[in-house]
Subunit: 314 residues, 2 copies
C-alpha cells in the first residue's frame, strides 16, 4: 500500500553527487511532499536591493531537497514523477539581473538589478514599483533530477540527461515527468521553484521562491529514455494564454543569436510602448516572454520569436 | 475612403526582386483579397505519390501573389498588415520529406515521402492512411513580405528582415504583422499557405495548400523596425491547445543540435507508442509539434523541448 512522506528543507545539498546519502527511502507508488528553498538559499528579503546582489558573492549551487531513494529503481529504468500539487511558499518573489549571466552579453547589461515581486494574492506576481504589471503565476520546480552515474560533485546549474535544472515551465501541477535512472535508487532531488517564468528564462532567474511540492513516484522498467520526457495534464499556459500576445522576431543562421536579438527587440518595445526601464523590461521578458523556434528549416535563416502575453498589463 | 481589391493567382513571381512591376496599387487603409498558389505551384494532386517528389526537380522558389504597391510607403516606414480572413483553397493538403532538406540530416531520412491530407471537412487535416490522426487546422500564410532594397533576384526560401518565408504559425486570422519597408511602395507579396504547422516546421513542409487571404494595409510612419513584429488577436493555438501535450527534451550547448535531438526522440515516441512509420512520424512532427526554447541560460546546456498536442489522436 502506498505511503505518504514529508521531507523538509532543513538540510539541503548543492551539487549532484551520487555519494550523498539519501534522506528518505520510499517505494514506487509513494508520494512525497517536499519543502524547497529558493535558488539564493533564503538570502533575499522583501527589502533587498540591487546592491545586495554583488554582496552575495559567487553562485555555489541551488539548494536541493533530497535525495530520495526509490526502492527497486535500477539503471536504465525510467522514474515517472507526477506533480500532484505545487505551491510557492514565500511571501515574495525575486528576479536578479547580473552582468555576465543570462542570454544577453555583458555589454547589453547595465548593472546588477533586483526585482522584488508581490505574490501575496496567490494569483499574480506584481511588480512592486509598477502597479500596472501583474504576471499570472503558474508555479513549477525549476529543478527535478536524479543523481548521475558519474562520480564526484557536479554543478546544479546545467540541465543534464537525468534532469536537473531544466527550467521547463510546463512541469506544473498535473504534469508527469519521465527521468532516466542512472544509479540504484535513482536518488531524486528537487528545488529552484519558480512562481512564473517565460520559455527561455532569458535573464537567468524567474520569479524565484521557496515551495511546497507533492510528487508521486512510479517506476517504468520497460522504458529507457536517453533524456527527460514529460506529459502535461491539459492545455499549456492556461493562466497566461488568455488574450493577445505581442511578438518580436529575429532571423539568421544561429538560433542563439536570434534569441538574443528577439529579446533585444522586445526590450525596445517594452521601453518605448510601456515606459519600462531597460532592467524592468529584461526582467519582464525573463518571467513572461516565451521563446519559440518558428522555423528551423528555411536555410540559411532560422526564425526565433519572442511572445509576450499582454495580459500582464492590468 | 478605403477600397477593397482582389488579386488573383494567374500571375506569380518566384523571387524577391524590387524590379518586378506591381500588379496593384492601393492606398493605406485598403483591403486586398489574394488568391495564392501552394508552395509546389499546383504540382501535386490527391493521387500524387512519394515517387513524384523527385520527378519535380529542384525547388525554384515559392509562387507569390503580388507585388502590391502601397501609396506613400517610403523606406523606414512600417507596413501594418492585419489578417482579416484566411482560408485554405485546396481540396487536399500535402507534406513532403526530402533528403537533404529539413531539420534532420540526410543520414536520418529514409527517402522521399509524400503525405496527402484530407482537409475537406474544413476543421482537420486527416492523415489519409491513418483514420486515428487528425490535426486541427489553423491556416496562415507562410510568406508575407516586402521587397528588399537590395537589387537583383533573391530566393524566397529564407526569411529576411522585410519578412518573407517566416513560417510563423501564429499569423492566423486576426493577427497584425508589422513589416519594415525598404523600397517606395513597399511592394508586398504573399503565398505559401499552411493549413497546419508546428513551431519549427521540422521537415520543411507543413500542410501545404492554396489559399484565399484578405489583408488590410496600414502605414506607420513613426516606427522603424529592424525586423518583423506582430500582435495576435487573442490566445495562441486555440484549435490545438485543447488537452494534454507529450513533450521530449534535449539539452546541450547548441540549440540547433538540441532541436534535432528533441525531434528524434519524438519520432521514436510516435513509432513506439502510436505505431507510426518513421516518415509518418517526421511529417506529424512538422505539422503539429512545437519547438520551444525552455531555457537558454543554464550554461553550458540549453534545453529545447518538442511539444506534441495529443488532441491529434482521435
Amino acid at each position: 500500500m502506498s505511503q505518504h512522506h514529508e521531507l523538509n528543507a532543513d538540510t539541503v545539498h548543492k551539487t549532484w553527487d551520487n555519494s550523498i546519502q539519501p534522506r528518505l527511502t520510499i517505494d514506487a507508488g509513494d508520494t512525497v511532499t517536499f519543502d524547497t528553498r529558493d535558488a539564493a538559499d533564503l538570502y533575499y528579503s522583501p527589502d533587498s536591493r540591487s546592491e545586495d546582489i554583488e554582496k552575495r558573492g559567487p553562485f555555489v549551487g541551488h539548494p536541493l531537497t533530497g535525495p530520495v531513494y526509490i526502492r527497486d529503481a535500477v539503471p536504465d529504468d525510467v522514474l515517472a514523477i507526477e506533480v500532484m500539487a505545487m505551491e510557492f511558499a514565500s511571501p515574495f518573489g525575486w528576479t536578479a539581473v547580473r552582468k555576465g549571466r543570462g542570454l544577453l552579453p555583458e555589454a547589453d547589461v547595465t548593472g546588477p538589478y533586483l526585482q522584488i515581486w508581490d505574490i501575496t494574492d496567490g494569483t499574480h506576481a506584481r511588480m512592486r514599483q509598477r502597479k500596472d504589471i501583474a504576471v499570472p503565476v503558474d508555479p513549477f520546480a525549476g529543478i527535478m533530477g536524479n543523481a548521475l552515474a558519474l562520480e564526484g560533485a557536479h554543478s546544479t546549474m546545467p540541465p543534464r540527461v537525468t534532469g536537473g535544472n531544466m527550467d521547463n515551465k510546463h512541469l506544473t501541477a498535473g504534469a508527469t515527468l519521465f527521468l532516466p535512472v542512472q544509479v540504484p535508487g535513482a536518488l531524486f532531488s528537487t528545488g529552484d521553484a519558480h512562481a512564473a517564468q517565460g520559455d527561455g528564462e532569458c535573464c537567468v532567474t524567474a520569479v524565484e521562491t521557496c515551495s511546497r511540492i507533492t510528487l508521486k513516484f512510479d517506476l517504468l522498467h520497460q522504458k529507457n529514455f536517453a533524456e527527460p520526457q514529460l506529459r502535461t495534464h491539459g492545455p499549456l499556459c492556461t493562466s497566461t494564454n488568455a488574450g493577445s500576445y505581442y511578438a518580436t522576431t529575429a532571423q539568421g543562421p544561429d538560433l542563439f543569436a536570434n534569441s538574443q536579438q528577439a529579446i533585444r527587440y522586445m526590450i525596445e518595445h517594452l521601453m518605448a510602448e510601456r515606459g519600462l526601464s531597460w532592467e524592468e523590461s529584461y526582467v519582464l521578458c525573463s518571467v513572461a516572454v516565451d521563446l519559440k523556434i518558428s522555423e528551423v528549416v528555411d536555410a540559411p535563416n532560422w526564425l526565433v520569436s519572442a511572445f509576450l502575453p499582454e495580459c500582464v498589463f492590468v
